[in-house]
């Protein structure tokens, strides 16, 4: 295989979607559960990200972080710092973060108006 051209050739341009100024909501139940997770320390932030993969192509990724190296926009919702990466802001604008109290399949859920479909477990969307 001739890969001599790899370093000198131009990478295929991956069209980056336009960065959207995100608005999102957190339900009362989700706030209650986040309060338990954060404790009194509100310096940490909830990072709401999207990863490639899952049955439908994209997977939600929720993490509690101090900071992140990702280029993010920061929202403060009822005292909670929420970070949304600009690279995936177009996929996350308008979402509602909910918490479902069930023994099986329970936990944080994201209701996403941008999703045309989602997989059965609710973690993946397209």
């Amino acid at each position: 295989m001739d890969c001599n051209t790899c370093d000198s050739s131009t990478a295929i341009v991956i069209n980056q979607p336009t960065v959207v100024e995100v608005t999102l909501t957190i339900t009362d139940k989700a706030k209650e559960m986040l309060s338990g997770a954060f404790g009194d320390d509100r310096s940490n932030a909830l990072l709401v990200g999207v990863l490639s993969g899952g049955c439908s192509g994209y997977m939600y990724d929720l993490q509690i972080v101090e900071e992140t190296e990702q280029d993010c926009q920061e929202l403060v919702i009822d005292g909670f710092r929420v970070l949304v990466p600009n690279a995936t802001s177009h996929l996350l604008d308008g979402i509602e973060i909910d918490y479902v109290d069930r023994l099986m399949g329970g936990g944080f859920k994201i209701n996403n108006p941008n999703a045309s479909s989602s997989c059965g477990c609710g973690e993946s969307f397209a």
């Binding site: 295989m1 890969c3 990863l51 490639s52 049955c55 280029d71």
Partner: protein, 218 residues
Amino acid sequence: MGTIKLDHYVLILRGDNLLEFIDGISTNKVEGSCTTVFTNKNAKIIDMVEVIEKEDFVALVGHKLYKDSVISHISSRVLDANIQIFDITNSNNVFFTTNKSLTVDNATIHESIIGRIMITPKDSEILEDMAYDEFSDYRVKNFIPYQGHEIVQNIHPLACGLGELVHEAKGCYVGQEILVRMRSRGRQGKELVRLENPVEDATTVGKTHSLRIQRIQN
């Protein structure tokens, strides 16, 4: 038999966690060099690709018919991951060969489900001594589906003989739910068969037998 040039593209991926990335968007378990299938959310084929792991990059080799679809499928899922895609199709040729002793400088040899393929620099001189009809007959005899014939974009991998590339136990990937459901309920709808000639609606015609995708008879 012999050697024939294939109408294939060669993409190079560089960056972090490349195999994991490909694993997450294709049907086979991708832990190294292998053959896998990109499917869309409806489990329809985008392309079957050869994954070739090299020291500092991963090459993807598939059929030119579907190159744009594959680039679109991959690039829309890069998001903010450190992954770059290069198209080196114009500086390489892809051959299928049954000649195990054939050696070419700077060739990459890969064992695919269709057999041995070689990716060589464009200026390498290789004697093509297999006609397309012979390649088709080889595929019919060995029950091997191929792009543009059995492997087309309106069909799912189980229906065109690519079931062995749909890993039964791996985690989620695009189209997985549908393929798992088809398997668990025994409802894949169609299957690839080899029949004695003459065969109506054959996808590949061989000398004595042909391949056809037909509805499963219950």
